[in-house]
């Protein structure tokens, strides 16, 4: 018969077997596994058997029920799983049960739009790693940071190279411009580069810049190695590691 062990950090608080009746978890003392913590709802969750499977069900708790690191409304439990409720966790011991194949029945339930939640550091790292492992387009590996850089090929500007660290990089004669143009009749704001989540976008200012020789109509996403030309200044947009 499967057992549930309520743990606080590494200490065992209480252990109960799971029989025909559901095991209830919550702040109220009349639960089978009472958890005395304000982050836990009065009747927070319950664990029971359904068609031979062990199931955890969140009882619309305020702070949610997590199986390992996924927030769930309902999930099939497997031996060795941990149910996280606030700072407590409940270890699932189902060694005596017949094995249930993994990847069945479990579905992460996305928070509803009205429950914005903040992940703590560990949950955040785990979720990102999980997402990275499944992402097909994943080009990211931790520790490798790509810095967008403008390398000046020719033209009258104040530096040879610019790291694009700001959200908005201005190319112009203005004293606050990142890429400061020098010389007569140069516009204060000739063009601009906007750093967005999916890349860097070159947009028009008082001039229309060209990318690889073609004038841009609106903001265009820059690719590694693109040649930008504006007001007689030619620059390479590249990613440095």
């Amino acid at each position: 018969m499967a057992k549930l062990s309520l743990m606080f950090e590494d200490k065992l608080v209480k252990q109960v077997p799971i029989g025909a009746r559901p095991v209830t978890i919550g702040r109220s003392p009349d639960n089978d596994l009472p958890v005395d913590n304000l982050a836990v709802s009065t009747y927070h969750a319950r664990v029971y058997y359904e068609a031979g499977r062990l199931v955890v069900e969140d009882l619309e708790s305020l702070n949610g029920t997590f199986v390992n690191d996924l927030r769930v409304e309902r999930a099939t439990l497997h031996d060795g799983d941990s149910i996280w409720i606030g700072k407590h966790h409940i270890k699932v011991d189902a060694t005596a049960d017949t094995a249930i194949p993994l990847d069945t029945g479990r579905k992460a339930v996305a928070p509803k739009i009205n429950e914005t939640m903040v992940l703590d550091t560990k949950a955040r790292r785990d979720m990102l790693q999980q997402a990275a492992a499944t992402g097909e387009r994943s080009q990211f590996s931790p520790g490798r940071i790509r810095m967008a850089t403008l390398v000046v090929l020719n033209g009258n500007v104040n530096q040879k190279e610019y790291l694009l660290t700001n959200k908005l990089t201005v190319i112009g004669k203005s004293p606050m411009a990142t890429v400061r143009l020098r010389g007569w009749f140069k516009p204060k704001m000739a063009a601009q580069i906007n750093q967005r989540d999916d890349g860097y976008y070159l947009g028009t200012g008082d001039k229309v810049p060209t990318v690889n020789g073609a004038p841009i109509a609106g903001p265009v996403r820059l690719n590694d190695g693109d040649l930008i030309e504006v007001c007689g200044v030619r620059m390479n947009f590249i990613f440095r590691e």
Partner: protein, 270 residues
């Protein structure tokens, strides 16, 4: 720089209470917007606390300008930007502290996006998924990066922006005010030009209305309050699933020519 501004907040069509807060301090050209979270009216407490703390901090006499109280500020930021960053750090601590002292407020938090214009310099401070945009030359430039799980996945190339918009995980934030005693505050600085339009908004707008629609509305409606109201109305027409708050600040045209030189000259003598 002369700026005209206005803001509108609305509960939306689905929720029963408005957890957003905003404040415009016209003499300072300071604009603050916060979206609260946490059940039973505590989201409102958190967002109001955020907005008030920042307004008070920035309105104080500038004694500590340039001193970094918390976090890391690059040396090249101006004193005003560091000051705004400090204000946000303090707001974070006050929300955290309040939640520690009042158990019923546990779990409350807030996003924060603030913009402060000093001369032609714009300072932006930001935590969470409320955004700041700049409309310039008819295109929206995004001045903040959402601290949300889906936005982080886009930055890492795991999701496309389209997938992120369709994701059910949009409400998962990686950073918010009030969750920890210290928070990393993103700050940025840029220069404003005449005709620029600054927009601050909660996610109740950006999840309902597309960027081209926002850009179109800001160009068509030059009165800031009317523009903000139109954007709020548009979000509500699309379903109004969340509270929606919009601040619009428009940089006025600079007076040009020799007349302005004369005016400037006479102003200096006064």
């Amino acid at each position: 720089m002369e700026i005209v501004s206005g803001g509108v907040t609305d509960v939306g069509r689905v929720r029963t209470n408005n957890e957003d807060s905003f404040r415009i301090l016209e003499p300072l050209n300071l604009f603050i917007l916060s979206d609260g979270m946490g059940g039973e009216a505590h989201g409102e407490v958190a967002s109001a606390l955020a907005v008030e703390t920042i307004a008070d901090y920035c309105a104080q006499p500038k004694e500590d300008s340039g001193v970094t109280l918390a976090g890391v500020a690059p040396d090249n930021w101006s004193a005003d930007t560091k000051r705004l960053q400090n204000a946000v750090s303090q707001a974070n601590f006050r929300i955290y502290d309040s939640a520690q002292k009042n158990p019923e407020q546990r779990g409350m938090g807030a996003t924060l996006t603030a913009a402060w214009v000093n001369g032609s310099k714009l300072s932006v401070a930001h935590v969470g998924d409320s955004r700041a945009y700049l409309l310039r030359n008819g295109a929206l430039q995004q001045l903040t990066s959402d601290h949300s799980l889906v936005a982080e996945q886009v930055r890492r190339g795991i999701l496309t922006p389209q997938q992120a918009e369709e994701s059910e995980m949009q409400s998962v934030l990686l950073r918010a005010l009030g969750a920890h005693p210290e928070v990393q505050v993103d700050v940025d600085e840029t220069e404003l030009f005449p005709h620029d339009v600054l927009l601050l908004c909660s996610d109740g707008l950006t999840r309902m209305v597309t960027e081209p629609e926002i850009a179109g509305t800001l160009q068509a409606e030059t009165n800031p309050v009317s523009a903000a109201q139109k954007l709020v109305d548009l979000a509500n027409e699309r379903g109004g699933l969340d509270n929606v708050t919009v601040i619009v600040a428009r940089v006025q045209d600079e007076s040009k020519g020799w007349l302005s030189w004369m005016r400037r000259g006479s102003a200096k003598k006064d």
